[in-house]
Amino acid sequence: MKKAIAFCIIPMMMLLSAGCVSKNEIENSAIIVAFGVDTTADGKYMVSTQILKTSKQSSGSGDGSSKGEKQQSDVISLASTGSTLSDALDHLSKQLGKKLVLSHIKFIVISEDVAKSGVAGLIDFTAREYQMRANIVILVTNGKASEIIKTTTPIDPVPANAIDSILNLQARYGYIPVITSLDFFNLLGSKTAAPMAGVIRLYEDEQQGKVFKLTDIAIFKKDKFIGYMTDEEAVRGVQWIRNKVKAGNIVIPLSGKDQVTIQLISANSTIKPIMKENKPAIKLTVQNKGNILDMTGDFDPMKNPEILTEFEQMENEIIKQEIEKALSMAQTTFQADIFDFGEAIHRDYPKEWVELEKNWSEVFPELEVEVEVHSNIKRTGVISKPVY
């Protein structure tokens, strides 16, 4: 009797416990790898998505290049509109009979118009939606976000992967800040800091058609976009301050036409708030090590190592200039605390901060920042003296 009951119950349990309530078949799911947000003429959101083709075999691999064909892309891009972001994504169901999978999103592109009207809703959505991870990169574009999403690239059949690899590299170089939704959320929640985001642009290339380029910084005040920082030196200055420059080149102009390029091997910058006669100030120290990558002129560092000390002095000045450019842009042009100096002061001087926080918008433009750079040139490459 017991056995008979078990015999009936066990298959039943097996059938029931292998549930399929929120099942997700791969061929029925639309894996979104990136999306862009635009506004339409009537003030709604337009979301353009880049969706992986799941039903077909991956194309463009193997012998595709020998035929000289243009590599086929593995994504489709679709767009839909709605009054909120999630509503717009929901309206995709009119065009696509698949369930949206948002957990593989690598980045979000926001058009300038959307950024100007405020991104609080978008950031909230990325934090609230359970599938999306907190390390999605936020990018701003000057044109249409849908253009970025639609553009295919010969580098990778999935354009989002191409951009993602640029972002991974740029996290070490200083040409663009890589800001994730987590960073943005934390900066947005702060009463004094101003968020920023990297900028992606499209360039027309004669051979390849449209090419992505990641440069510049989009600066926000609260959740609204206020302007671009386009000066390349200032952008790297920002990254120096944020301790994000770990690689890259520094060109030192010498007398006449001669130049030296230093390749950074390692770099580190520290922010230390100090109190000067009851006034806050920031002490920024940058330390870096580099090698000579190319050089013209009549120098021989192997015979005369003092010349490297001279180069180091010049390198210090150049980095200092970059940082000061960034500081003056942030303090006077934008008046936005993109470096989160406020939080740095809060960390070390919590008592003084209570007063400072109230009128931070007046304190920040006047804030004194002492910059100190220590460069160190270590090696000269495999030759010593320039040939010519």
């Binding site: 416990s17 549930g19 309530v21 929120s22 957990s103 934090a127 359970y130 991870r133 907190a134 390390n135 996290a171 987590l182 959320f185 934390n186 929640g189 702060s190 740095a344 809060h346 960390r347 070390d348 001087y349 919590p350 901060w353």
Partner: protein
């Protein structure tokens, strides 16, 4: 009904029970970046509570809280108190089931019917109670090292992921002064430290009763330190803003692990968290089952698992309309109205009443208590 567990097994169930749900949440959000310090401050308080429970236990080394309450307060009031404890354990089990149902629905399967999740979880968890304390403890003995190992690995992974851990988030240290921090964190007395009142049901099952005090104090110390480390991890990875606004900061921070192919480990985290829930619910259910059995002098509490299981599943659905309501009840209403009296006031009164009685009964030599116990 001779269930015996070893001191180490007691340690394992105490640790796993307390971690079960407390590791999910950001405790003491009011203390912001100093929350981890508050957790450390409250370890001695947790130990004091534990000493109080153990003091009571050492007066009645063969009894559980359900059976010694009638001996202290007299048969009528005492039995009422015992019934109160049984109801409390059942209610807590229902709350934990609800916690984990919501965790699954929020973090991975929003379209799932909560009834199915609750019933499935209850069946598995209550099966643990059905198999009895010894089996739960043996499972805990095996799983505790595994848990610790997995957590160490996850911690290493998250600290190895570049640009995720920012230790400067912990500053400013002691932004508020210590008294106000202690005031902010006083609810820690009830959760997680006070929850160990459950173990007054199990101390008498330990085969080496002399070690109970040492082991349980050590468990509290361990719990406090790991919870503090855990909170440090939340703050350094997520920042105070997200850590305090995320519903499940542990889940949210572990999602940031991205180390080569090792990324998107969310489901693994949920499985680990639910294994903690298993011990919590099983032990609570077992406590209410065996308590009932002791009260009505039933020999084997085993089959009480079925009615209690059904009750727990139903309670878990009835206690709140939506998730915010459930959390408000759990963090704001219950600690004052339910947990604090049950976990601290009643045992304290019991201890006082016990001493007064002894003084009245035997005013001259109240040191010879060991001879009175059977």
């Amino acid at each position: 009904m001779e269930t015996k567990i070893s001191p180490y097994q007691l340690f394992a169930i105490m640790v796993l029970f307390s971690f079960g749900s407390s590791i999910l949440f950001f405790l003491t959000p009011d203390a912001k970046q100093d929350a981890w310090l508050v957790l450390l401050f409250y370890i001695p308080v947790g130990m004091l509570e534990q000493l109080m429970y153990i003091k009571l236990f050492y007066q009645y080394p063969n009894d559980t809280i359900v059976t010694y309450m009638p001996k202290i307060f007299g048969i009528y009031i005492g039995s009422l108190v015992s019934v109160l404890y049984i109801i409390y354990f059942t209610y807590q089990a229902g709350r934990i089931i609800r916690d984990f149902t919501e965790l699954i629905l929020i973090s991975s399967m929003p379209e799932m019917s909560p009834f199915i999740v609750a019933i499935t979880l209850t069946i598995i968890f209550v099966y643990g109670a059905f198999s009895g304390l010894e089996n739960i403890s043996r499972a805990a003995q095996l799983i505790l090292p595994l848990w610790i190992f997995i957590f160490i690995v996850l911690f290493l992974l998250i600290y190895a992921t570049p640009d995720v851990v920012k230790f400067q988030n912990l500053k400013p240290l002691l932004e508020k002064d210590i008294p106000s921090l202690i005031k902010d964190g006083w609810l820690l007395v009830t959760f997680p430290y006070g929850e160990t009142v459950l173990f007054t049901m199990f101390y008498s099952s330990v085969n080496d009763s002399k070690k109970v005090r040492k082991i349980s104090l050590f468990a509290i110390l361990f719990l406090g330190c790991v919870l503090s480390l855990n909170t440090i991890m939340f703050i350094t990875t997520l920042g105070v803003k997200i850590a305090t606004s995320a519903l499940f900061p542990l889940f949210e921070s572990m999602r940031l692990v991205q180390l080569g192919f090792l990324s998107k480990l969310d489901i693994l985290i949920i499985i680990i968290m639910i294994s903690g829930g298993f011990f919590k619910v099983s032990l609570l259910t077992y406590a209410s089952m065996s308590g009932t059995a002791q009260l009505i002098k039933l020999k084997d509490p085993k089959y009480l698992a079925i009615p209690f299981g059904i009750a727990i599943a139903i309670i878990s659905r009835l206690i709140a309309k939506n998730y915010p309501e459930h959390i408000i009840t759990g963090l704001k209403v219950n600690p004052l109205q339910v947990n604090f009296p049950i976990q601290i006031i009643v045992p304290l009164i019991a201890l006082i009443v016990y001493y007064i009685r002894k003084l009245l009964k035997n005013p001259k030599k109240h040191n010879s208590r060991s001879s009175k116990n059977k």
